[in-house]
Every structure is written in structure tokens, then in C-alpha cells.
């Protein structure tokens, strides 16, 4: 077993995937606590659909013969910009009109997904690129992508920690925060921005269908384990990183898809934690 793990880390592409995966797992699990508590967990799923749309547009345009000759869209930066823009759009729609946030997310995400599918069918058709976008692959990361991902996730972590108390305040009680002069809208935008970054960065490895689960599940498990905000945050981060490392190792050894393996480990932990909590309660009764 030890040998296999050593061997696994001798592949540079796996090391790259592990580095990016750990950073993204950290970001996703921290933000996940706030999104779940704000009842905004859907935004992760919605943005991953937007990510799919944007990535598909970039990949299918790049596949056109006319395009390759003159210029190429860099898939990762293009997707980041699009997802950030649409994250703000979702916030604006749900703040300023009668459409609530759930519906705003559904509207924007299905629209983006549709556009993505249209682009694919008019250009390359269903190919491995599309599959990789949906289900993720650890091969997707170029060296440039790794640098960009590491820098961006470091920025996300820094901003999250720097604004930790303010993010707590707007999560616990938005009205009180606003009444006492905290710029709630700005921090909501910050949260959406950080989520957008995290979703896009994680999407390549985890797949756009599965990325939102690493936002939600570690937070849910931790909320069953701990009762104070700080402990929930720390536990969510730890669980998420551990589950990712275990998941990617399992995927290497059994040749299972990385995203699905990581999610399976997360789900197992969630199940164990819930069962323990349940038995503890019934014994105490």
C-alpha cells in the first residue's frame, strides 16, 4: 500500500491534481458552511452549471478550424470570468426583483447549461472533452492552470480568514448586521465571488456535476458533530481535505473517477457521523 502511494506521487500530474484539489477542498468546505447556513447552498450547483456552459463554449470554439489558426480562448480564465459575472447577476436578480434566489439560480444555471449544450452540438458533438467537463479528470490541469488555481485559492482563503467575523455576522443575522452599519451587500458579493472562484477551480478535477457536493457535504457532517461556529468551520476544513486525499488515493488504486471517489468518501463520512449522532441520541434518551 505504502509503495503504491509513493508510486502515485511520482506522477507529476497527480501531484498537481493533489495540490489544487487540497486548496479547492479547503475553500469549498469553508464557504460551504456559510452557504448551507444562509440556505444558499444551491448557488454552488447553479454556478457549476454556468461553469459547464462557459467551458463548453471555450472548448467548442477552440475546436473550430478557423479559430485554432488565429487565436485560442484560454478555457480556465474564460470560465472564471463568466462564472463570476453570472454569480453577480444571480445576486442582483434575487435582491432587486420578485424572483427569489432559488428561482434566480435555476434560471441562470439552466440557461447557461442550454447554451453550452447548443455550442457542443453545433461544433464538436459529444466527445471526451465534454465528458471530462461533466465528470472531471485529474489530467485536465496544465502547469499554467495549476499556478492560476493555487494563487486564486490562496486569495480565497486569505479573504475568507480576513473577513471571518464579518462573514459570521452576515450569516447569523443579516438584518442586525445591516442595522448596525455593516455593509451586508458587499460581503454577500464577496461570498458569491469566492464561491464562483472555488467552483470553477474545483470543477476541472471534480466535474461540474459533482463539485457542489464538496461545498455542501463537509459542512453538513461538521454541523452534526459540533455546536460552535469556529469548531464547525475547522472541522469542515479538516474533513474536506482528508476526504479528498483518501478519495484521490482510492481513485488511483481502483481506477475509479476522482470526483466520484472523493464524493463517495464524503458521503461515507456523512453517513457515519449521522449514524453516530442518531445512536447517541437514542441511547441518551
Amino acid at each position: 500500500m505504502m509503495d503504491e502511494i509513493m508510486e502515485m506521487f511520482s506522477y507529476p500530474f497527480i501531484v498537481r491534481a493533489v495540490v489544487v484539489g487540497v486548496m479547492v477542498s479547503l475553500c469549498a468546505s469553508l464557504l460551504g458552511v456559510n452557504l448551507v447556513l444562509k440556505r444558499y447552498a444551491n448557488i454552488g450547483d447553479g454556478l457549476s452549471h454556468v461553469g459547464f456552459g462557459a467551458l463548453s463554449i471555450a472548448l467548442s470554439l477552440n475546436a473550430l478550424p478557423a479559430m485554432t489558426k488565429y487565436f485560442r480562448i484560454e478555457p480556465l480564465p474564460f470560465t472564471i470570468v463568466m462564472v463570476v459575472l453570472l454569480a453577480f447577476l444571480i445576486l442582483r436578480i434575487s435582491e432587486n426583483s420578485k424572483i427569489n434566489s432559488d428561482s434566480a439560480i435555476a434560471l441562470v444555471s439552466t440557461a447557461s447549461f442550454t447554451i453550452g449544450v447548443m455550442f457542443i452540438s453545433m461544433t464538436t458533438g459529444m466527445n471526451t472533452d465534454v465528458c471530462n467537463t461533466l465528470f472531471g479528470t485529474i489530467l485536465a490541469m496544465s502547469k499554467r492552470d495549476v499556478y492560476l488555481s493555487v494563487v486564486l485559492s490562496a486569495v480565497v482563503l486569505f479573504l475568507y480568514i480576513f473577513f471571518y467575523h464579518k462573514i459570521f455576522a452576515i450569516t447569523f443575522d443579516e438584518n442586525f448586521a445591516r442595522a448596525t452599519g455593516i455593509r451586508v451587500n458587499i460581503y454577500n458579493m464577496l461570498l458569491a465571488l469566492l464561491t464562483a472562484f472555488t467552483i470553477v477551480l474545483g470543477m476541472r478535477i471534480m466535474g461540474s456535476l459533482l463539485i457542489s457536493s464538496i461545498v455542501v457535504i463537509p459542512a453538513l457532517s461538521s454541523m452534526r458533530l459540533f455546536k460552535t461556529y469556529k469548531l464547525v468551520i475547522v472541522s469542515s476544513a479538516v474533513l474536506s481535505v482528508v476526504c479528498f486525499l483518501v478519495g484521490i488515493t482510492i481513485s488511483y488504486m481502483n481506477k475509479t473517477p476522482t470526483g466520484a471517489s472523493v464524493v463517495a468518501v464524503n458521503l461515507t463520512v456523512f453517513f457515519l457521523v449521522s449514524a453516530t449522532a442518531y445512536f447517541k441520541r437514542s441511547i441518551l434518551r
Binding site: H165, N175, A179, T180, G181, K227, Y229
Partner: protein, 237 residues
């Protein structure tokens, strides 16, 4: 000079008025009870004063001393916090945030302020408990402590007594009275309970559709609206 002065104030949602032509003032050291039936616009008025929503018409003027950071707020209880993982300390500390600007951490002074306010409200022993697992009365005290951390002068409480048993209600009234008399805080309380409002308040603002009343407690008892709403009830003193 009044801390808050409302003139010709019309409040409501999306241009549809709930209450119109309100005129009243909140003087320093006042204890104002806002009463009225469910849906009469009490919370709407509170949110408008706090700047959470815009007035449809009229003006609200604040005394300089009530800058934006001078109003402490205890919101109507909301169910979002039902399973929220947070300790009492974390909740009350968040009341200190509005004075911190961009500083990312709390300092010793903030923690002392929190301890003082917990002590003042007799809940220092709850500080490491989970907020969501407290009783209704304890939760209200914790949120009051948070409000005290954020304010300097003026405290607005939206139905702080709803859902409390009679004993907890009495204790809460006493606490508010102490804050008003001993700490010289200006207090605005939204309440359903007219009798205790008349017992503990100095002024009353009664919202009832087109008719509103604002004035001293004694005046209210003699007023036609007051007589109508408190009809048949006897007051001691």
C-alpha cells in the same frame, strides 16, 4: 433635542403604505412603547428607522449623537437561527463588529465589553453554551447583550417578549427598566402587551390603521383611542 424625529412619515412596501402621516419624537432617556395589533406596521416602522428599508414619504431626522452606530437592535425572533451552530460568546462578540472597520480581529476591550454586558444581564455563565439550544428567554437576553455591545445611546427591541412565560416577561421588563433608569439608555420597545406598556413605558405610540396616537402614558389613558383599546381595564396608578 430629540434623538429621533419623524415628521409626516409614511411607511410601507413597494410604494403601498402600511401607515401614513406618522409624527413622533424619541427624546434622550425616553422609554417608548410601540403598540398595535399584528400587521399594524410596528416592525415596518422599526425597520424604516433602522434604515433597513426606505420610507415612502416624510422625514426621519437623527440627532448627531445617534450616528449610524448609535442604534442597538434586537430583531423579532426568526427561525433561521434554529439550528445555527454558534456559541453565546460568538453571537455577542458579533455586536462589537460595527466599531471595527477593517480590523479583522477582536481585542481585549471588545472581550471585556462582552463580559460586562453578559454580567449585566445575568447570563455570564451561559457564555460557552450553544445559542440554538437556549430557552426563549435566554436567547432574548443574549441578543440583548449583543445589541448593548453595538450601541451607545439608543436601543430598539422588536417584540422582545413574544413567546416568553410570564415570569421571564416580568424579568425582562425589569431589565429594560433598569437599563432605562440606571444606565440612562433610551429604549424603544415594540409590544403587544398594552397593560405592561402603560406600566413600564414613558411614552406610547399606538398604530391602528388610519388613527395613530403618540404621547405620554397618562395622556394615552385619557385619550379616546387609549380608552377604546384599554377599555374595561383598570390601572393601578
Amino acid at each position: 433635542m430629540a434623538l429621533v424625529c419623524c415628521e409626516n412619515l409614511t411607511i410601507g412596501y413597494e410604494g403601498v403604505p402600511v401607515v401614513g402621516n406618522l409624527g413622533f419624537q424619541i427624546e434622550p432617556g425616553d422609554c417608548l412603547y410601540i403598540v398595535g395589533e399584528n400587521g399594524s406596521g410596528k416592525s415596518t416602522l422599526v425597520k424604516t428607522i433602522l434604515g433597513l428599508m426606505k420610507a415612502i414619504g416624510g422625514t426621519i431626522t437623527f440627532d448627531e449623537s445617534v450616528n449610524r452606530f448609535g442604534i442597538g437592535y434586537l430583531p423579532q425572533i426568526n427561525n433561521n437561527q434554529k439550528n445555527f451552530p454558534a456559541s453565546v460568546l460568538e453571537v455577542v462578540l458579533s455586536g462589537c463588529l460595527n466599531k471595527k472597520g477593517l480590523t479583522p480581529t477582536f481585542n481585549k476591550a471588545d472581550k471585556e465589553l462582552v463580559a460586562t454586558n453578559l454580567e449585566k444581564l445575568n447570563i455570564l455563565d451561559l457564555r460557552n453554551k450553544c445559542f440554538a439550544e437556549l430557552s426563549g428567554g435566554q436567547k432574548r437576553r443574549v441578543l440583548l447583550a449583543r445589541a448593548l455591545c453595538s450601541m451607545e445611546k439608543l436601543l430598539i427591541l422588536d417584540e422582545p417578549l413574544a413567546g416568553l412565560d410570564p415570569k421571564a416577561q416580568m424579568e425582562f421588563y425589569k431589565t429594560l427598566e433598569d437599563l432605562n433608569e440606571k444606565e440612562r439608555m433610551t429604549i424603544v420597545v415594540v409590544s403587544h402587551d398594552l397593560q405592561n406598556a402603560l406600566k413600564y413605558g414613558k411614552h406610547v405610540l399606538h398604530l391602528a390603521g388610519d388613527v395613530t396616537f403618540w404621547g405620554g402614558v397618562a395622556e394615552y389613558k385619557n385619550n379616546a383611542l387609549g380608552a377604546y383599546f384599554s377599555g374595561g381595564v383598570r390601572y393601578d396608578g
